[in-house]
Symmetry: C2
């Protein structure tokens, strides 16, 4: 979507694509910090201070482990998986809400057998994400639950852990 | 939801309610400009310039006909209905996107036999809505399609009009 105002109505297609909305598939390179994730920007306009994106992680895929000053307001639109926010790993299901506070480490992982599609609201004006240093990653992995999550070796039983 | 940062995870309940999220049911008075609509604020935080709300219109209900400088970015989350945006009446279905540009007249109506639930992103800092004067309403109603929509007498066949 360009910086011009979008068409009034953009139709949804059953495959989680929308009219007049580009799909960005991230390129996976050597040392990939993410896997099997796409982005569509649903709302971005010079008159809006917030931006709404739709991310979709394929079964078994995951988003980049990162943190930044800006916040995320996330609504799971499709499927299920798990997320790390701060020092908590939690199961997430369709229509759950996830708040990522400033400077919280976060990563989203789809279940092995289902995609994870989510809306993410951010400020248009925002800082760039920081990736963990080796020392920061080791500090996170000192918690066995976080280590299992980050290494994709968590036993996924689909049950909520709340 | 208060101005404090929300809990990291707020669970979705099958009835389109969320943990730790208040439901506001608008009070219908004498000359009601809306009917059978509720609001839940899903994300509002001092660190975010955008705000995400969930509105639900019961079958046969409708939102206020209004306009304002600030924009709406809308994603239909549940059900179907019709909307007026500017001078166009269009059918809307689950997951369709609706952009309401600055100063466009707009109203959302649920189908007679289905609710219409939608997410709406707005700027936290925004102007108050204006209601139409009698002359403005008459000007809108000069278009028979808009008149039928505003008076709730449109023949709803569930078919998209795009």
């Amino acid at each position: 979507m360009s910086q011009e105002t979008a068409p009034t109505i953009r139709r949804f297609h059953g495959d989680y694509r929308w009219d007049a909305t580009d799909l960005l598939a991230y390129k996976e390179e050597g040392s990939v910090p993410f896997k099997a994730i796409t982005r569509q920007t649903l709302f971005r306009d010079p008159n809006m201070a917030g931006e709404l994106r739709y991310f979709e992680v394929a079964p078994g895929g995951y988003s980049t482990l990162e943190r930044h000053e800006h916040m995320h307001g996330v609504l799971i639109l499709r499927g299920r998986g798990q997320c790390l926010v701060g020092d908590q790993v939690q199961a997430i299901e369709t229509h759950d809400l996830v708040t990522v506070p400033p400077w919280s480490w976060h990563q989203f992982r789809a279940a092995p057998d289902a995609p994870l599609g989510f809306l993410c609201m951010v400020n248009v004006e925002r800082d760039k994400p920081c990736l963990p240093t080796e020392a920061e990653r080791q500090a996170l992995e000192a918690d066995p639950a976080i280590a299992a999550f980050l290494n994709g070796s968590v036993a996924y039983d689909g049950a909520r852990q709340s």
